[in-house]
Symmetry: C2
């Protein structure tokens, strides 16, 4: 008997009809002879509606109460799903994050899981029941205060429970048939990825692929949880995210897994920074002290500007650009630069593939494909298995298609279907 | 420094504007130098919407999951109220029933409070904070499962917390200015009751007055909690429910406290029950076994019918009439009666007053007033401080007005204002 954790996002449980469909799917899995734990997000737009209510009352609501408010959404969906499963004649019990043993730190709004002790879940499974667990939420160890896990929280709940219960697989249900070599809305010929390593998935997620959340993949990688990304709207096979060898023997890593893109980046340029030791370091110290994470960094060679000054550019999430720019302005005199320029018109393309390690020439081919489509590359960064470039945001889709084609990633026929919104 | 528990129903926290108004009121109470605990119901129609969702999924949802679902409403309103108070610059913390220490038995949907250990509430008050508590909910002692307290649950939560915290007063906010000598929607000249005993309030609540729930009043009576019924829409003085002597010295009990009415009753008549020992008892055993509570009972004198048979009539909540009638039909042969007749056209008028004890002639005056207005009395029952009569339901309002006038309960000017719906 296998133990399967299934996670359904908000679009999969948006209304009574959807909840009944999910119940059917869960019951089918159970009746195929498996033990089943289900993790659910809040229904459809519930979380946004609760956020709107909170914002109507206070522009800056207290974090502890915000978490109590937001977790109401998952309580509603978990109770309704348990009812829908009971209605099919199968025993189901719903559990809050607390009841499921999800213990977190006290960082309300973005708590990290400290421990998972799913004793009641195991008891429920042992008694032949399906266990429904509210995603996105936990409880602090000492005060029993409700916390939320931040973006991707329900995915993380599912993976953490799968690890703690030693589940065979953690199925993440979404509104597409798995992970693709590019976003099918941009590249209609994108190919479904059958199997991919956690390392590649992390690079894809960190650089704009929206299907899986970074934290959940990190958790899965650390605890060796096999993820199975599937559509809740079809029976298609989806994508397996695992570092285990495939049963049919080891295969060569494919050269390229896919092309990710990210429109959320902005570029900040600090102009005429004195070219003396420590100036660049001081720029990054100031930004780090403001709590902003940087992505790519480029420092011009000083001789191209002359007169002992240089420009420093970096990219970051555009939501944090204002904060970084303000922090730098506060230290302008001290650092001695001339100006800070903010550019919200950039996009990032990332080519990811474990096979790059052993194949030189991938970068040259990437740059060539982009150049041939008449698009300028503004910044470059690389890891062992990824090459990222910054372009104008308006050129990003065109660049993605050009690179996808150059690396022969197209499927033989169009297979991607996007079914609805995306869950939390 | 006084400790005040304030309870606000669903209509008082129906939207962001209402919540802000309640927050202002709570903060005013705090800044007048009191410690404040606030108990809230779910916002407006939230509970009904959740019930609709559940019914769309299952006609007979499991009780444990139903309770998880329904308690989401109070979690939302308590979090929002805490935010609204914080927005006014005053510290507030929200607590679930569990965090507030409301321990119940395991009767999901209609749990009874077994213990209240409000340690965290006391800590919150000691730290200078306002404590917001979700009404209507508790948690079982051994399994930490969420329970709901059934109808009037939030009132009961407020009274139970007031008792456990040894509060000076428990203020129940509603949409009228207190308790009145009759429902102001029927008798516009009804007078506000300034002060009333718990015994009279129990009789009023048990016989149709909707302002306070029976269980909450029973709890207040048992633990000596002073209730103060007030409008959340005005600053008027409301009604004090207490058994303590008024400070200005003992007053004579007023003859009559008020006229309650109840449209939810139905009458069942069992025709031609054999007039032998045990037949009537058997009728009531069968009804009791079906879990139905009876209110008034009338057995005709057998000689009026002749031939050794009699009719037995009783009233009960009309929601339970079908169940009682079915139970009786299942035992028709055994009991040997001829037929069961169901009458959904009755109404009940109850005159309540502690002064009745020492004033004979109240009943005669009551019957006279009803007779003079041309209305027939079908059944009568009395307690020490109450006389109830059954009339046709269509005559009920007219009877209430006639009795109210006969006992000179009218105010000198119209003072009752009904502001909105009623909360839970």
């Amino acid at each position: 008997m296998s133990l399967i954790v299934q996670k359904f996002g908000g679009s999969s449980v948006a209304d009574a009809t959807s909840i009944a469909r999910v119940a059917k799917r869960v019951v089918d899995t159970k009746q195929a002879g498996n033990q089943v734990v289900v993790v659910v997000s809040a229904m459809g737009d519930t979380t946004d509606e609760l956020l709107d209510l909170a914002n109507a009352i206070s522009p800056n609501p207290p974090a502890r109460e915000m978490d109590i408010l937001l977790t109401a959404g998952e309580r509603i969906s978990m109770a309704l799903l348990a009812m829908a499963i009971s209605e099919l004649g199968v025993q189901a019990q719903a559990f809050t994050g607390q009841q499921a043993g999800v213990i977190t730190d006290t960082a309300h709004g973005n708590a990290r899981i400290a421990a998972v002790t799913p004793k009641r879940i195991q008891q429920s499974l042992d008694a032949g029941s399906i266990a429904i667990v509210a995603g996105f939420q936990g409880v602090t160890k000492t005060t029993n205060d409700v916390t939320t896990l931040g973006r991707g929280g329900s995915d993380t709940t599912a993976v953490a429970l799968a690890a703690a219960l030693n589940a065979d697989v953690c199925e993440i249900y979404t509104d597409v048939d798995g992970m693709f070599t590019a976003d099918p809305r941009i590249v209609p010929t994108a190919r479904r990825i059958e199997r991919i390593s956690t390392e590649e998935t992390l690079e894809m997620a960190a650089h704009g692929a929206k299907i899986l959340h970074l934290r959940a993949v990190e958790y899965a990688r650390r605890y060796g949880v096999t993820l199975h990304v599937r559509s809740s709207f079809s029976e298609n096979t989806g994508t397996l995210v695992t570092d285990e060898e495939p049963e049919e023997g080891k295969m060569e890593d494919p050269l390229i897994s896919g092309v990710a893109h990210d429109r959320s980046q902005a570029k900040v340029t600090v102009i005429d920074v004195p070219d003396v030791p420590g100036s660049a370091a001081r720029v990054f110290e100031v930004v780090a002290a403001a709590g902003v994470n940087l992505d790519m960094i480029v420092q011009n060679v000083p001789t191209t500007k002359g007169s002992g000054v240089t420009d420093i550019s970096f990219t970051l999430n555009s939501d944090h650009a204002e904060r970084a720019a303000n922090a730098l302005r506060d230290h302008r005199e001290e650092i001695g630069y001339w100006d800070v320029v903010f550019d919200n018109g950039v996009g990032k393309l990332s080519l990811v593939g474990a096979g790059m390690r052993s194949h030189p020439g991938v970068a040259a081919k990437l740059f060539g494909a982009i150049r041939d489509s008449g698009i300028n590359i503004e910044m470059i960064s690389t890891s062992e298995i990824r090459i990222s470039v910054i372009t104008r945001r308006r050129d990003l889709d065109k660049a993605v298609r050009a690179v996808h084609e150059a690396f022969e990633l197209d499927a033989e026929q169009i297979e991607a279907v996007v079914y609805g919104g995306t869950g939390r």
